[in-house]
Amino acid sequence: MSFLRVLFSWAVSLVKRRPARLVGAMIGISLALALLACLGSFIDSSVRTMTNRSVANLPIDWQIQLNSGTDEEAVRTAVRQLDPSAALETVGYADVPSLEAKTGETVQMTGAAVVLGLSHQYNKTFPQEVAPMLGADHGVFAAQQTAANLHISVGDTVTIERAGGLPAVEVTINGIISLPGASTILQRIPVGANPGAPSDNVLVLPIEVWRYLFSQQLEAQPDSAHFQVHVHTTPNNLPATPDEAYAWELQRAHHLELSTAGHGVLADNFATRLASVRGDALYAKVLFLFLGLPGLTVATLLTLGIAGSGAVRRRQQQALLRTRGASVGMVLNLASAEAVLVGLGGGLLGAALALIVSRVFKAALGIPLTGMIGWLSIAFCAGLFLALTAVLLPAWHEARRSTITATRTLWFISAKPLWRRVWLDVVLLAVAAIDLWWMASTGYQLVLAPEGVSSVSVHYEAFAGPFCLWIGTMLLTLRIFGFMLERGLPLVAKIRLPPFAGKLSRIIAASLARQRRALSRAMALVALAVSFAVSTAIFNAT
C-alpha cells in the first residue's frame, strides 16, 4: 500500500515538475498513434467499401448467351434458384449485313449491324444500358451513331438487310438513343473470343417485333442470331473484402454454369469487376507500404527520440533511488509510472486526434466510427508499448548491467556498435543495389497497362530494395556523420573554418565530436525522412 502511495506521488511529481517533457512525449506518441489509426482505418474501410461500391454500379451482372434451340425458361429457373430476387430480361441479338436509309434523293448504307430486341421493361431493370435521347419511349430506336451514319431522325424509315437470304424489312424510327453501356451489352460471348470494338450500327426493336422479324433468320442461319438472358443479381451475402467476394462469386457462377450446362454460356461481369477490385485493393496495400509505413516509421523514431531525450535525467534519478535502497523491481515500477503516464496520455490524445481527423475529413476519408475502433485499439496498444520501450528498456538495461556509480555518471560512450564493425550499412546498400538492378533488368513494373487497361502486379521481393536502401542510408549517414564529427570537426577547427564560433571553434568542435552519437542520430533521422521522400516520389512518378 505504501509503495502504491510512493508510485502515485512519483507520478504526481512528474506531472508537476516535468510537464513539458511529459507533454512533448505524449504529443509525439499521439501523432504516431493518430497516423497509424487513420491510415489503417482508411485502408481497411477503403478495401471493405471498395467491393460494394464497385459492384453497385455494374450495368449487367451476368449475361447468359443461350444455345440455339435452348429452353429459355430452364435458364431463368436456374438463375432464380440461385438468386430468387434476381431481375432477368431476355434480349434478342441479330447480326445483319447492313442497314439502309433513304433521305431525300440520297441513300445511305452501313456495313454489318446489330439489331437488338429489348422488352419495354429493360430500361427500368438495366438503366445504365440504354439512354433515350429523342422521340418516343417505346418502339424502334436507332443508336445515336447509327442515326448519324444514316442521316436519319425520328419518323424516318430504315431498311434492315436480313441474313440467311431473307428479304429486307423496313422499320420506322420512333426515337434516338445512346448506349452508354455498349461495351457490356454488345460484348461478344464467350468473353475474350473475337475481341473488338462494339458495332457502331445498332437498331433496337421491341422484343415482340424482333421475334417476329428474326425468328426466320434464327432458323435459316442460327449463328447470326441468338438470345441472351441479362441478370441483375442481389448479392446479399457478398463478403466485404475483394478477395473473399471474388471467391464467393466464382463459386456462385460455378453453380450456375453447372445448372445451365448445355443451355448457354455465361459472361460473368460481376466476377470480372471483382477481379479488378482485387487489383485495386492490392494497390491500396502497396500505397500503404510506400506512403504510410515510411511516415509511420519516422513518427515512431521521432517519438522514441522525444521519449528518450530525458534518458540522462532518468538514469540519474534511478541511480539516486538505488542509492536509497530501491530494488531493481521498484526502480522499474517507478519508471513504468512515467511510461504508463506518457503512454496513456499519448494514447488518449492520439485517439481524440484520430477521431477528429476522421470526422473533419469524413467525406474524403469515409472512415466509419465502428471501423476505427479496431485500429484505435491497435494504435493505442502500440503507443503504450512505444512509451514502455522508450522508458523501461533503458532503465531495465541500466539496472541489470550498470553499477549505481556508473549510472550516476554521464559518460560519452565511444565504443563502436556492432553494425559499424560488421559494415551492415554497406552490406544493406549492396543488397539494395542488387535488388533494384535485378528488378530493373527483369522489366518489373508495379502498374502494367496492357492495351491501355491498367492492372497491378506486385512482387514483394521488389520491396526488399527500397527497404534495404532506407535502412542502409540511415546507417551510412550515422557512420559518415559520426566520422566527420569525430575526425573532421577537430581538423576543421584547427584551420578555423567555422565562421560563427570564432575563437571558440576548437572547443565547440571538441564538444560536438564527443556528442557525435546524439547528433548523428538526429542527422540519420533527417536522412531517413529524405530517403523515404525520394522513394515515395519515385513510386508516385512511376
Binding site: 555518471t409 559518460w411 560519452f412 571558440l504 572547443i507 571538441a510
Partner: protein
C-alpha cells in the same frame, strides 16, 4: 590602490513562491574594494548566496542599486573581471578539464593564443596536471571543485567570488583551495569574497560580514 570595485546601496531581494514572498536580502549596503578579503558568514538561508549572485551580476535586486565602478556595467561583466566558484562545480560535461578552463579564457576579452598556456599553468598550481584530458564525469568531487577554482582564476579577474566552495571538501583539500584563491587574488591584486560556514576559512579573510535573515550585522 584602494579602488572601489562594487557598491551596493539599500539592496533588497525577494523570492516569490506563489503568494508567499520571502526576503533573501533586506536593505543591504556595502562596498567591495580592490585587494579586499571578505568572508560572508551566517546560517543557512541568511542570504549569502543571493548576495554573491547579485555582486556577480547573475541576478537583479528587487530594490536598491548595485554599481561596478571599476568593472563596467552589468552587461559588460566578463570572466576576466569576475571569477566565480559555485558550491557545485558545474563543469561542462562534454569538455575536458583543460577545455573547461580554457573556455573561460576564450570567453573573455583576452587573446586566444594565451589560453592553453594559462590554463595549463593554473591547473599545475592546483595539482591537476595529470587529469587535464579527463572529462568531468571521470573526476572525484574534490578534483571537480579544484577545476572549478582553476576556471575562476585563470583569467586573473579583478574580483573572485566563492560560494561555499569548500563545503564538500576535506579539510586539507579545502585549505589548499583557499590558498590557491588567496594566492591568485594576491598576484592579480583582486578582491576575494568567500561565503562560508567554515570558521577557519573565514578567519583567513581580513573582513567578515555577518548576514542574519538577509540583514548585514
Amino acid at each position: 590602490m584602494n579602488e572601489l570595485l562594487v557598491s551596493l546601496d539599500n539592496v533588497s531581494h525577494y523570492y516569490r513562491h506563489g503568494q508567499v514572498e520571502t526576503a533573501a536580502l533586506d536593505n543591504v549596503s556595502c562596498q567591495i574594494m580592490a585587494n579586499a578579503r571578505v568572508a560572508v558568514v551566517g546560517p543557512s538561508g541568511s542570504g549569502k548566496s543571493t548576495l554573491l549572485h547579485l555582486v556577480a551580476g547573475l541576478d537583479r535586486p528587487t530594490s536598491g542599486v548595485i554599481r561596478w565602478p571599476a568593472l563596467g556595467s552589468e552587461t559588460e561583466l566578463r570572466p576576466d573581471q569576475i571569477g566565480l566558484v559555485f558550491q557545485m562545480p558545474s563543469l561542462l560535461p562534454a569538455l575536458t578539464v583543460l577545455e573547461n578552463v580554457e573556455l573561460c579564457w576564450l570567453l573573455s576579452k583576452k587573446h586566444e593564443a594565451g589560453a592553453h598556456a594559462a590554463a595549463l599553468e593554473v591547473l599545475e598550481k592546483l595539482g591537476l596536471s595529470a587529469i587535464v584530458d579527463k572529462l568531468p564525469g571521470e573526476l572525484s568531487g574534490g578534483q571537480m571543485q579544484r577545476v572549478a577554482a582553476a576556471r575562476a582564476v585563470v583569467c586573473r579577474p579583478r574580483l573572485i567570488l566563492a560560494d561555499e566552495a569548500t563545503g564538500q571538501l576535506d579539510s586539507a583539500t579545502a585549505k589548499r583551495l583557499i590558498e590557491v584563491l588567496l594566492d591568485s587574488a594576491a598576484n592579480s591584486g583582486a578582491a576575494l569574497v568567500v561565503a562560508t560556514h567554515d570558521l577557519d576559512v573565514a578567519n583567513r579573510m581580513t573582513t567578515q560580514w555577518r548576514l542574519v535573515h538577509g540583514r548585514l550585522e
